[in-house]
């Protein structure tokens, strides 16, 4: 059997905030799922299977929480899968769900990713205890800061680039009603004078810790033909992984990320991503990762990514808008963050992104990464049904 086309016909998100104390975990995920079903104008009975994703179970203190979420997600009597691929999980979860449709196994699939980080402290959840790891770093920033510094040394990028990305993403977030951070008074100077957390990463160049969920309804050609709003078609999707630590690993531009992007572009027939893509939702938890990923994903030559940032290319009105939603820097329910990237890319090509819509966007990339810059998941969505 050849691969069946897959369409995104429903997108739902919660308003991401620091602590959703008004809902349980089940209430949070159901809120996103109900919104995705409403977008698709479908009911629970239309869903054949449910695929759930989230980052480590320790973040909420519930082992395999999908078991307890079966009722809240309407999965009783249906197949339910739970994906966990570290920070890339939101994207991987969407791809696992898409494959169920692509393989012809199911007609319509609901996929949900979430994190309710207020249930614990994610920074210390990410700091592995002895005996698993030497107590050298605190939180993800502690792990990634040296790689950012390596990028700056390697490329000679000016210090201000990181703050420009952060300021752009936080301003974009003002146009996204679901974004966690709405910092109306933020200025570039305030970003640059915010406290240094993990040199060279400042407080305002760091993602927040959020409670939030994201849901997608995926279907095939028949479902897409019936859907009331424009679908987003999946033109390519891939995952790549490499080990955390090994001699010769390029933390600045990991091979797994390059390979993953190349696979997606090949599937989608994209040869010049800089010109052929209209928007990118990129996983940028620390501002400097925007120029780093611009190079890793083939939008800029090696060492040139920061120049695109400096020239305003990635601004909302630039020729390659990156994170019009405000990105991970403005909302970070970790397990959901990858799926939000995938969902926002879909919203752009559906023309349903609201105030942060990029006019005429027809092809967009959703990107996620996780672990020690070692797990990558991406999809490329378009407003046109892919050629077969």
């Amino acid at each position: 059997m050849s691969k069946q086309p897959v369409a995104v016909v429903g997108v739902g998100q919660t308003k991401h905030v620091a602590a959703r104390q008004d809902v349980s975990i089940a209430g949070l995920v159901r809120e996103a799922a109900v919104r995705a079903l409403a977008d698709a104008e479908l009911g629970w009975a239309d869903i054949d299977a449910v695929v759930v994703g989230k980052a480590p179970d320790f973040f909420e203190g519930v082992m395999m929480p999908e078991l307890y979420l079966a009722e809240a997600l309407g999965a009783v009597g249906k197949p339910m899968l739970r994906v966990h691929t570290a920070g890339s999980v939101g994207g991987s979860t969407a791809l696992v769900a898409a494959n169920l449709v692509a393989a012809g196994v199911h007609g319509t699939v609901l996929t949900v990713a979430f994190e309710k980080q207020s249930e614990s402290n994610a920074m210390w959840g990410l700091s592995l205890p002895v005996p698993f790891q030497q107590p050298l770093t605190a939180g993800a920033g502690g792990f990634f800061a040296p790689h950012v510094r390596a990028y700056m040394r390697r490329t000679g990028a000016p210090d201000a680039v990181g703050s420009m990305v952060a300021f752009k993403d936080r301003r974009n977030a003002l146009k996204n009603p679901y974004a966690h951070l709405h910092e109306h008074d933020l200025t570039l100077e305030r970003v640059q004078s915010s406290p240094m957390l993990w040199d060279p990463i400042r407080y305002s160049e760091t993602c927040p810790s959020s409670d939030g969920a994201c849901a997608l309804v995926l279907t095939g050609e028949r479902g897409a033909a019936r859907t009331p709003r424009p679908p987003a078609w999946v033109h390519g999707g891939a995952m790549r992984s490499e080990p955390t630590i090994f001699a010769g690993k390029d933390y600045v531009s990991p091979q797994a990320g390059r390979d993953c992007a190349a696979d997606v572009y090949r599937q989608a027939g994209v040869t010049d991503p800089r010109r052929q893509l209209d928007a990118v939702e990129m996983y940028v938890p620390f501002s400097w990762y925007e120029p780093m990923w611009l190079e890793n994903l083939g939008f800029a030559d090696q060492g040139e990514g920061w120049k695109l940032v400096e020239a305003g290319v990635t601004e909302m009105d630039g020729d390659l808008p990156v994170n019009p939603s405000g990105g991970v820097l403005s909302s970070n329910p970790i397990g959901a963050s990858g799926m939000i990237r995938f969902a926002e890319a879909a919203l752009q090509v559906r023309g349903l992104a609201g105030e942060h819509q990029i006019d005429g966007a027809r092809r967009a990339l959703g990107h996620a990464y996780g672990g020690g810059a070692q797990f990558f998941s991406m999809w490329l969505v378009g407003s046109d049904r892919p050629d077969r």
Binding site: P56, E60, A75, M80, V83, F375
Partner: protein
Amino acid sequence: MSSPAQPATHPAAHSAARTGGRDVAVVAFAQSSHTRRTDQLSEVELVMPVLHDVLKQTGLTANRIGFTCSGSSDYLAGRAFSFTMALDGVGAWPPISESHVEMDGAWALYEAWVKLQTGEADTALVYSYGKSSPGSVRDVLTRQLDPYTLAPLWPDSIALAALQAQALIDAGLTDERGLARTAVRSRRAATGNPHAQLRGSADVDELLRRPYEVEPLRRHDCPPISDGAAAVILAAGDTARALNANPAWIRGIDHRIEAHQPGVRDLTESPSTRLAASAAGAFDAPLDAAELHAPFTAQEIVLRRALDLDDRVPVNRSGGPLAANPVMAAGLIRIGEAAALIHRGEADRVLAHATSGPCLQQNLVAVLESARGTGGGTR
């Protein structure tokens, strides 16, 4: 491939039958020798030997595998992202196409089967591992219950299984002697399985003289606490035929979940198992054997009823999870043991079952066949 006929007496599958469009087979299986503790081994060291074993069986190398998928639990390991270290055992360089489920490896196999159905890969490496020894697995499993209404009460896995066993006894479906017979049969079957942890058993009368663990369950009704790992290689079509003289074709595979709250379920029934079995084509033709992931003796009774298995079908010739129960790998091992019967030419059509969650909440059923199985004409 044709859809399986659905006999009127069996529940209809929810949607399309899960028989796939592409012939996919288990071509290799390996498991560790499961033990009570492996203090000297990391998860990577637990997984490495079984990975090397399945690669050696097929002559494949890591870079010739199209897709890799694993299953494990951070809660067992006691650390976040435990699977990232296990990935080191795979040798993921150059980078590989890879995914992970926080589920038993049987569901990792399902994800890999789906991947092969898309045609994006022709081979898949599936592995899972569980190291229960660092903590008290009986307490750890309470953390997978509803965090608001159940987990605060700390009902442990044996207590919940005892509720299920008592419901069966109250319904007149078994008794303590019947449960003990299941334990004896399983552990005596395991004497032929060098990987099993508990091999051999005292007789029923002696077992019934021993004290209760949690009434009505005695120690023999409960699984051993095991550390272990397993790996499987899947391959499609001619690739499978080239890698194994007797591929174990996955005739159908499906999985279903039930409500989480034990109080809203009839614990003597397993409708999710029955639905999955029906979608996997289990009722279409007689079975030569079954490998059931029933960690507690009473759960085998529930599953036999859901699957219409009578005494003519040998269940758990390997000894099953009562003889070795590495959590997160025990379900994948059922599929591996079922496939191994076909690889060795000892059976033509075998059912494999995996479970997850309290009291058999979530269940997966796969039907494996040799080329001579009832679907063999098309192979």
